[in-house]
């Protein structure tokens, strides 16, 4: 967690949220993770702060005192501002989500959500630039060739099913980053909801067993209340 604090300290987050309790919970959560958070309560305030180009990530609620927070997203994009934006919303119909992403939002989180989920999304948006597009991914002893569709651990080939390969690829593109179950469901399997059973954990368990070299090293670790992380920084 100390490395997280050091990295996040330089990342100012702008939160535009008029719901008092939710805002204070978000502030506590993000500040505990080391972010410096600026909080604005209205559309006008939020827009002014967002246009000042200081934030590394903007979190905006769609419902701001009866106004649609998407106006801020649109204004920023019209300015040519590419700052990552996380839209949070109580409006959760399929159309609402599509509209939110079309307006220029980078991620869309539907209320109610768990705070670690929000934190993980913010981290993902901040580190989006680092996400590798390479077809050869290396993390510690793991070496994944996406062209050959072959994983090697310490040079030894490891047989993976296509679905396991897809899952591992997602982790290897985001080493050290917290990945929630919802993120895996959305990005790996296109599931925009949480299934009732812990299917994701079963997938992770299978992948872990395949990666296990029998030496007690766990590459994919659980992060309590949040999800998982590929941990290979030895």
């Amino acid at each position: 967690m100390h490395s997280d604090h050091a990295r996040n300290a330089v990342a100012p987050v702008l939160l535009i949220e008029d719901e008092h309790e939710l805002a204070s919970e978000i502030l506590v959560e993000l500040r505990a993770l080391g972010y410096s958070v600026q909080h604005m309560r209205s559309l006008a305030e939020g827009l002014a702060a967002a246009l000042s180009h200081e934030a590394a990530v903007v979190i905006v609620d769609r419902m701001l005192e009866g106004e649609d927070g998407l106006a801020i997203v649109e204004a920023l994009r019209n300015e040519g501002n590419r700052v990552p934006i996380l839209v949070i919303s109580g409006l959760s119909t399929v159309d609402d989500r599509i509209r939110g992403l079309k307006a220029g939002g980078d991620d869309y989180l539907i209320k109610p959500f768990a705070l670690p989920e929000l934190a993980a999304r913010v981290e993902a948006l901040l580190r989006r630039g680092e996400t590798s597009r390479a077809t050869r991914l290396k993390a510690g002893p793991l070496d994944l060739d996406l062209v050959e569709r072959q994983l090697r651990r310490d040079g030894e080939p490891v047989e993976l099913l296509p679905r396991e390969l897809k899952l591992l690829e997602y982790f290897m593109r985001r080493p050290g980053q917290i990945v929630t179950r919802a993120m895996l469901l959305e990005d790996v399997w296109n599931y925009k909801f949480l299934p009732q059973t812990n299917v994701v954990d079963v997938h992770i368990g299978n992948l872990r067993r395949k990666l296990d070299a029998g030496d007690g090293r766990r590459f994919i670790v659980n992060v309590r209340a949040a999800g998982f992380r590929l941990d290979v920084e030895d």
């Binding site: 159309d95 539907i110 109610p112 705070l115 679905r163 399997w189 009732q196 059973t197 209340a225």
Partner: protein
């Protein structure tokens, strides 16, 4: 259907009664005209005969013979029969065989044709002669019969088309009424099956049926409004519970993280945490149902290959089935294209698969099929679990319903509600049958959905 047929029959019977009444009235009118005309004709002929008989009562035999000759050919004052009988009743001359049984009082009497050996009846006038004999003059009723024939022909010509027309209109009205009632009944059935946005058809005629349909529609609007209100209240409660739950959850977590936590406090706090998570999952699922329900119908629908959705879902659930030693297979021979929202269909199928795997014991099997049945897209999920009791087969789709087994297995009791909501959004029906053993969930396009797809 029975009711509408009955109504149709009623309409037709009404038309039939109307046709009968019209026929009776027409026949009555013609009868009256006939009696009047015939009566007038008989009176006219009677008057002529009376006058002729009086004038010729004592004419000589020779004159009478000549008159008989002449009058039979003359038209206006034509006399068909002329006879002279002596006082003993024997015929002296004339063209009737015997003396007809009428009084010789110089008045007109109708004599039956048989009495005078003629095909038609006739009018006769008899006068007593001074010599004691009897003079009889008569004319047959051919003219009157002709009038009768003409009138009957006219009646037939008038009445037949009228009756046909009335019955035709009756059939038309009956069929229209049947059609309107069956469309209304159809709509009501669909509304009862949950298509709450549907309304009864209202025609342009604003008759009684339309007035009732409008009233029912207003009632449905009101019900829908109340349901929406109820739902939004429920949603708001669910929504507002979320923030306090989040806060409490955080506090519990902080307490669990504390170094100085007494060992006795750990277990209750762990239970509290898991119960809070359960509440959160329920709230999420509830809000999810309203989100799907309030989604604009058909908006954002694309061509979706249902077989593809199934293949992906099976791939996703394979590890879970494997972990439970349940054989998960999919029969997906051909692409099954339909209009729909892929994300929602995936969610519905996921809930069905989730349940199927959950309820199937180790060594059992879960099978997924996507196919066309009667040209309609159809999705089936079969398992070899305990199945669904007959009495529960409707109830399991209700919110929060959990069978005895469902309660044992946990779960929020909303998975099938979500699946059904998604099915309805697509114009599909979701039902459960016996898989002998196990449950067989069938999601298939209703007639209307197929009609939409074809168009």
């Amino acid at each position: 259907m029975l009711k509408t047929d009955f109504f149709g029959a009623r309409q037709f019977r009404l038309a039939l009664a109307f046709a009968l009444a019209i026929s009776a009235a027409t026949v009555g009118a013609f009868g009256f005209i006939y009696l009047q005309v015939a009566g007038a004709d008989i009176a006219r002929v009677g008057a002529i005969l009376t006058e002729e008989a009086r004038r010729n009562v004592d004419a000589s035999r020779e004159r009478l013979a000549a008159a008989l000759e002449a009058r039979q050919t003359q038209h206006i004052r034509r006399i068909d029969y002329l006879a002279l009988f002596d006082s003993s009743g024997a015929r002296v001359l004339g063209n009737i065989p015997t003396l007809p049984s009428i009084p010789l009082d110089g008045r007109a009497h109708v004599v039956d044709g048989r009495e005078i050996a003629a095909p038609e009846s006739a009018i006769f006038v008899g006068e007593r002669r001074a010599d004691g004999g009897a003079l009889l003059m008569g004319r047959n009723l051919q003219d009157t019969y002709d009038i009768e024939d003409t009138l009957l022909r006219a009646l037939a010509i008038t009445l037949a088309p009228t009756v046909v027309l009335i019955l035709g209109i009756g059939v038309l009205f009956a069929r229209r009424a049947t059609l309107r009632f069956s469309t209304i009944q159809d709509s009501i059935q669909r509304i009862m099956q949950g298509e709450m946005r549907l309304r009864l058809p209202v025609s342009r005629e604003s008759d009684e049926i339309d007035r009732i349909a409008r009233a029912v529609n207003l009632m449905l609007d009101e019900i829908a409004r109340l349901l929406d209100q109820l739902r939004s209240v429920a949603d708001n409660i669910a929504h507002d519970l979320r923030t306090p739950l989040t806060v409490v959850r955080r506090k519990v977590e902080v307490a669990l993280d504390a170094q100085a936590l007494p060992a006795a406090a750990r277990e209750p706090l762990d239970v509290a945490l898991s119960q809070l998570d359960r509440a959160a999952v329920t709230i999420t699922a509830l809000l999810r149902i309203s989100a799907v329900e309030s989604g604009a119908r058909n908006k954002g629908f694309r061509d979706v290959n249902l077989a593809n959705v199934c293949a992906e879902a099976c791939d996703f659930y394979a590890p879970l089935a494997e972990a439970k030693s349940v054989a998960l297979t999919a029969t997906l021979e051909t692409p099954v294209w339909m209009r729909g929202d892929e994300d929602l269909l995936r969610e519905a199928l996921s809930n069905l698969l989730d349940n199927a795997i959950k309820f199937t014991p180790a060594g059992g099997a879960v099978r997924v099929d996507a196919k066309f049945v009667d040209g309609r897209p159809c999705l089936e999920v079969r398992d070899t679990g305990p199945g669904v009791e007959v009495g529960d087969r409707e109830k399991i789709f209700r919110r929060f319903f959990r069978s005895a087994i469902g309660i044992r297995e946990g779960g929020h009791g909303l998975g099938l509600s979500i699946a059904q909501t998604v099915a309805e959004l697509h114009g599909f029906t979701l039902s459960v049958e016996d898989n002998q053993p196990g449950a067989r969930f069938i999601m298939r396009a209703s007639d209307k959905a197929r009609a939409r797809a074809v168009r």
